[in-house]
Symmetry: C2
Subunit: 163 residues, 2 copies
């Protein structure tokens, strides 16, 4: 460790363990919230109206996929903040899938894994994490899969970058 | 056209033009909505607090990327409904990028293109569209790029499937 290394107790690039599954989050999906989100951002009838939803292959009122993504983000942020992760956001998502619908009354949780990590060559104070987050309902059915790159601070930017 | 072809005036698979850019949407981003969304789904300080945001590389309060995606979805749904598109939802997103942040006061719009389309071989009543949507702010700076597969009804399911 060099003299530049941060010692503030936060969770840095160096602390990230590759290949370890993290379990976190609990989100109760309410009918009110499903309809409020859909009314603002995804006003398709099968997210807003029981009769219209009964005509679709989902069979009943379901949450917007973007609402599911937002609920998962909330669980991710709560987890980052709980472990004091020195995150720097994300430039984007490589894959986002909704294998099953989310229904009012569902209780969601997350499983996350960092598949690989690397230092930025152009910005030595920054690391990149290739991560996958999956969300499950109370029946352990997967409702969302997201692969994304996360940016995170490096504790010790003066340490050499390994290839 | 066979006797099975639907004649209800909706916009079907057969109507989709590949390679034509569609322009649609106008979304005024308000500070209240940015903070309300972030408070519920992405409570990171740079989406909620001016001073915290000033410390980041964005420099000022910005919208959650998931809020940007939700605002774009609203513009997409309004467009689908305006043209009466016989859409069947989407199984997922292949790419989602946020090249620039969205700030309160921005006015967003969309450009969308169908890059290719094909009939489903297993479900002849359904077609698949490979689409790209980009959202821009009032300075024509791109703030979101999304590539996704959209499902859409086929007007004439009895018509042969071309390879």
């Amino acid at each position: 460790m060099t003299a530049d290394a941060k010692t503030d107790g936060r969770f840095y690039f160096e602390d990230v363990q590759v290949g370890v599954v993290q379990h976190y989050g609990r989100y109760e999906v309410t009918r009110e919230e499903v309809m409020e989100f859909a009314g603002k951002y995804d006003p398709q009838p099968f997210h807003l109206d029981d009769e219209a939803a009964a005509q679709t292959h989902f069979g009943k009122l379901s949450a917007s996929g973007w609402h599911t993504a937002a609920m998962v983000m909330r669980m991710m942020v709560d987890n980052f903040q709980a472990i004091k992760q020195a995150g720097l956001g994300s430039p984007g998502v490589d894959k986002l899938e909704w294998p099953r619908p989310v229904f009012p009354g569902d209780i969601l949780r997350c499983e996350a894994i960092t598949k690989s990590k690397r230092r930025s060559k152009s910005r030595p104070e920054m690391g990149l994490l290739d991560g996958e987050v999956k969300a499950f309902n109370q029946n352990d059915e997967c409702v969302l899969i997201m692969e994304s790159v996360g940016l995170i601070e490096v504790r010790d930017p003066s340490a050499p970058i390994e290839d």
